[in-house]
């Protein structure tokens, strides 16, 4: 691994950590809208998230035996972006009075989202540590990503992008990370290009996305 590759790796590590943290904050925010009690919901979300991180990192070894390392990582990122983009939409679409085994379905989906994102993010770190043997540096890059996410989320990201815009943007970030690890060069260029275009389109369409979010919310409560 040369120096450039090494730097690139650290960048991917922090981006990936950033993305997972943002998903968690989005879910925590949604929970506090649906149920009330911000501090309570943030605490619970972080607890569940860290627990699922642990489960994910445990399962990495068995996954590694079945598939190639690279494949595991790419699929994880892909799944993460799908969960991250669709879960908030799903929560907005489900009506409030839909009960699933005694639980409100939207809250149930939120918890499922938290668990899924935690589990998938747990797989990332062992992989990155596996590829890059410099444990301390990778860990600090990971923590740095989380730090940036948590310091920027409340002040800047949520007020400017809104829930839906933010989840799409972060999902695309995850997709870009997945594309960079593709083996086939021509496919890689095409994929990175498409995701990049999607990225720009999303940023242009952010106000519309937020309006759609507000409409969906109104529809959810039948106002």
């Amino acid at each position: 691994m040369n120096k450039n590759q090494f730097r690139f790796h650290l960048l991917v590590t922090s981006i990936v950590a950033f993305a997972s943290m943002i998903y968690e904050f989005i879910f925590a925010h949604i929970l506090s809208i649906l149920r009330g009690g911000t501090i309570l919901n943030y605490t619970l979300t972080i607890a569940i998230f860290t627990f699922c991180l642990g489960l994910g990192s445990l399962s990495y070894d068995s996954l590694k035996l079945r598939f190639s390392k690279n494949k595991v990582f790419i699929n994880t990122e892909f799944l993460l972006s799908i969960v991250g983009i669709t879960a908030p939409l799903l929560i907005l679409i489900t009506p409030v009075d839909l009960i699933f085994f005694g639980f409100r379905t939207d809250i149930f989906i939120t918890y499922l989202g938290i668990i899924a994102v935690g589990f998938l993010s747990g797989i990332e770190l062992p992989y990155l540590l596996d590829v890059n043997k410099n444990v301390g540096v990778v860990l600090s890059a990971d923590y740095l990503g989380m730090f940036i996410a948590s310091s920027v989320f409340a002040w800047y990201l949520l007020p400017t992008f809104g829930i839906l815009g933010l989840s799409v943007i972060v999902g695309l970030l995850n997709l870009i990370c997945a594309c960079f690890f593709l083996k086939n060069k021509s496919i890689k260029i095409v994929c990175v290009g498409t995701v990049f275009v999607l990225f720009i389109v999303t940023i242009i369409l952010i106000p519309e996305l937020n309006l759609i979010g507000m409409k969906l919310f109104a529809g959810k409560y039948n106002v």
């Binding site: 506090s32 809208i33 607890a47 860290t50 301390g136 409560y221």
Partner: protein
Amino acid sequence: MSNVLIILICSLCSLSSLGYELALSNYISRLTGYEVWGQSFTLGVYLIFMGVGAFFYEHRKLKLKKLQFLKLEALIFVIGILTPFYLEITNSILILANIISGMTPAIYQLSLKVTVAFIPTCLIGFLTGFELPIIFQQTKRYERNYIIFFSYCGSLLAGLIVSGLLMEGFSYFNMFIAFSAINLCVCMLILLWQKKYIMFLLCTILMPVFVLAINIFPEVKRVSTYISHYDYKIQTFSITNIKNILNVVQNIGDIAVVNTPYQKNELVKSFKGKSRYAHKDSIYRLLLNGHIQFGTNKEKVYHQTFVIGALNLIGKIPRRVTILGGGDGILAHELLKYKEIEEIVLVELDPDMIKFSNENKVISKLNHHSLHSSRVEIINEDAFSYISKQKSNSAELLLIDFPYPNSSDLKKLFSVEFYRFVKKVIGSDGFAVLDAPIYRDSRTGILKEGSKNILSTLYFVDFKQFFAFGPYTPFVFLSNGIKQPKFDYEKLTKNPNLDNVALINLVEIEISKSSLLPLNFKYVNSVMKPIRFGNE
């Protein structure tokens, strides 16, 4: 045996450290009043210092032995137990220094306090960063995954414990005590791991210190809370003021602090002294999460104009009135003066607030035990979820009395979604009156930032009638009727309950469409895109 010990040690280690972090973030978000920011930023700082710790350990090639691991844990324990004392004492010192040096703007003071609170966060994070590498060093490679798993388990437990303690209404101090007790257990387990049984016995000596700390703290807390509410009364530092301060400290007594799962209620008495703001009777102020709710000297103006103005505008007295918020019961007391009102529904999130207003002598004197009345029905529910369940056209009069939007829970109640619910519930025949923080610059007449946000949000929902009335902090009248309501001044002057007629419409704010239109989407607050209010 040793495996079980390692598992216990690593899960308890992460439990206590994350516990400290959560307690600190709880403290910081209560201090600043900005919950989301407090929670997320504290976590971020803690994590990055964990990273710095791990990096430092790796970089310096430190090889700590088991005994040094013990020292590390003991250090974390000491920091953990001292932190609440440190926070309270520095808080008081900062406030006193502020009084002596003359008043500095509140924002600088707040940022200083927050900086002070971040020092223990950084220290605990940094030391925690050492833990995992040390444990890794002393175990075999294949065990690492399990160790990571169990340390994450510990953090899950920490989250659950903290949310449990929050539910019970514990303050951050109790959390520190709980987690430093766990930290002490870790120290003892390490001793067992090393087979130092004599030291293990000696370690029990630390327990009395622990108990002592628990007993001293409430005293420290009482004095510091008291000091923290005197910053706005003493303006200059002179000999008379020293006397005043001493006078205050000697007469410490009337302060009620209630921690509930949702907020911190404080009722603070202004002292009878020769201060510039001295009042004939003692003034009490109710603070929620450190933000002033009302003072007993201005309470009458506010509640009378709210109720009498609203009833006069709609021109009749409804049978059923719904109050959202207003757990102090004073609005309900004003409404109970009208015999025609058969039922008052009061929706308040916090059951402890209701208990507080019923039991506290000062507040129950103001509300005349209105919450015990048979005509008042109390519903303990989040106003957002309550109103989302109501049928359309079901409310005759809706009085909305929330604290100002300075936390993310409260911003939800000033959003497009909430106002849409209001519009649906009042239908075409009902009315809503809203206490909204609308301020304009007294010279230029330009709306201040936060007020612009609230008005734009109301415009977005498109009520047919939408105007403001009342004293300098006005109320907003909302309805979907075609006719614009007008005050009946003849009736107002005859109303025996109203002390001062002039206040009812002191500043009729003509919310001129020209200043807000075309509507800028940037100023519209929605739960999907919560914006920043000016007072944040």
